[in-house]
């Protein structure tokens, strides 16, 4: 079962990476132009989220009717956690970085394949930011982002 879970994660990650590429979000300009209402506004990120939420919501609603995921192990869905300061502060810090460059974690990783030094510098800095958080706060992040 363990090998099957790993193979499934590899295939699903590939679908995710293909989707990011097709959606146009490997290009930071797509993101920054969506966020800039007073500049060359580009609505495409809205279409990306619409498509993603439509299918993701259908998948979630379907999962509610299943007792177990296909490969077992239960559904690890965070629930009952409060809105707290780390959530708001962390999201605000993320918003600054996302606005500055136009890359969030998925496109930062997938974008490494483009072979651009600037993406490489951004992504390595992101990894350092993750390591700094996890070493500093000394705890494993559980819940929301399990993948």
């Amino acid at each position: 079962m363990r090998a099957a879970r790993i193979v499934a994660a590899l295939v699903i990650g590939t679908v995710f990476g293909f989707g990011l590429t097709l959606a146009g979000v490997l290009d930071p300009a797509t993101i920054r132009n969506f966020l800039d209402f007073f500049g060359p506004f580009d609505p495409r990120l809205g279409f990306v989220f619409a498509g993603a939420l439509l299918v993701s919501t259908a998948g979630y609603l379907f999962s509610r009717r299943r007792r177990e995921p296909a490969l077992g192990g239960g559904f690890a869905i965070p629930a009952g956690q409060p809105v707290d300061q780390p959530l708001v502060l962390g999201s605000a810090l993320f918003g600054i970085g996302w606005g500055m460059v136009g890359l969030c974690p998925g496109p930062a990783i997938a974008g490494l394949t483009l072979g651009l030094p600037s993406v490489f510098i951004f992504t390595v800095s992101m990894l350092v930011g993750i390591a700094a958080h996890d070493l500093w706060l000394g705890r494993r992040v559980a819940g929301e982002a399990v993948a």
Partner: protein, 141 residues
């Protein structure tokens, strides 16, 4: 294919990946959670989900090559930003998403789908702050 339709279909594939990970492995498709798990593994903290997370991240890197095979070219991208902007931006994205326990994928695509209050607050916060950041950089500074 129009650019809008292409973005919609690309988004639908991202949503499909999120639905598949939930229905097959029972996990939330959080990119920062997966990448963070790989980073923690490199730092010597390997847990039961390490290889699953590593495989997902490897898939993110294979995805663009699958696109290259299908369409014959990778997309053109425009990334502006000086070295300090790239470094500070990267540090903020890594630290911030880890602190908030989710990014555009975990809170955006997955959390909003189940109407999680935490995710709604996270998405409203990072979109709001990012809009202000772009406005200040492009129209004030």
């Amino acid at each position: 294919m129009s650019a809008y339709l292409q973005s919609f279909i690309g988004g639908a594939l991202i949503g499909l990946a999120a639905a598949m990970l939930l229905l097959i492995n029972g996990r939330v498709a959080g990119v920062i959670g997966a990448v963070g798990g790989v980073v923690d593994g490199v730092l010597g903290r390997i847990d039961g989900d390490f290889w699953e997370r590593t495989a997902f991240v490897a898939g993110l890197l294979i995805g663009p090559f699958a696109f290259l095979l299908a369409y014959g070219a990778l997309p053109e991208v425009t990334i502006t930003g000086s070295l300090p902007i790239l470094v500070v931006g990267g540090l903020l994205v890594g630290f911030g998403t880890r602190l908030a326990k989710g990014c555009t994928a975990g809170h955006g695509v997955c959390g909003l789908a189940r109407l999680s209050t935490r995710s709604i607050v996270a998405v409203a916060t990072f979109f709001g702050v990012a809009i202000v950041t772009v406005f200040v950089m492009e129209h004030v500074l």
